[in-house]
Symmetry: C2
Subunit: 150 residues, 2 copies
């Protein structure tokens, strides 16, 4: 990255990588949320179901780590999914007590449709990116994500 001029006025947020990542995340996040809304899901719920489908059974703490939220934020989200019979809880609940959840058949069906939407959203043609550029973008993001995985 070329050195920027010292002059404050010349500084541009377009040169701040973090600003651009967050701003594009806002755009693509809202874009996916809009598309998933037809299923009554938001991107985090989609992620939770995707992890449960893949892992079989996960606790609140494990799900929180997987979707990068705090366990306190995940608990009410799971309550909502449970209320809609998309997941079910296994065993007793209580402080200190592991409380795993599993996806239900209804959850798997909703997830199936969500996958179609999520993968279609990979196409950023509407946002001026070619397929090769989307792939490169994903590769760079994954490199960061995997390097910073907890």
């Amino acid at each position: 990255m070329p050195s920027l001029p010292d002059s404050e006025a010349a500084r541009d947020l377009d040169d701040v990588l973090t600003w651009n990542v967050v701003r594009v995340a806002r755009f693509v996040g809202n874009r996916l949320a809009g598309r998933l809304a037809s299923l009554g899901l938001n991107p985090i719920q989609f992620g939770v179901l995707a992890f449960l489908e893949k892992e079989g059974e996960l606790t609140t703490a494990e799900i929180a780590r997987a979707v990068l939220l705090r366990p306190q934020s995940v608990a009410p989200l799971l309550d909502g999914l449970e209320g809609r019979d998309l997941i079910c809880r296994v065993g007793d609940r209580g402080k200190g007590r592991r409380n795993p959840v599993r996806i239900t058949d209804a959850g798997s069906e909703a997830l199936e449709q969500a996958w179609v939407i999520a993968l279609a959203a990979n196409d950023l043609g509407d946002a001026a990116l070619s397929r090769d550029e989307s792939n490169e973008l994903n590769r760079l993001l994954l490199k960061i994500a995997l390097a910073t995985e907890p």
Copy 2:
């Protein structure tokens, strides 16, 4: 992007571009927030000050569009910055009345330090990206950001 197998179990969130953008945004956003905390600023406040420095004077609605938040979310943020004498309001406040703000000298000073931190955060060496890769990532993000600018 290669076709994915039909099997649900084979699907991986690593293949969902939106998921990766949002997850990396979370990481770099928190990373920048951590670094800016020493100035008592968060990334949005930094962005607001940067736009004010550049544009001179902006209304709540204009700032909201610039930082991609709702005006209702920006108003209390501006109240906070005003309380710390980093910005000042121009003219009277009221419903329907344009209420521009300007950055103060103290705000410019804080912004000066924030710029150093924000640009240093462009270095993603700690997240396994080379300088060329960071530049390419920024280029791709900017392409999306500018194509989707309101």
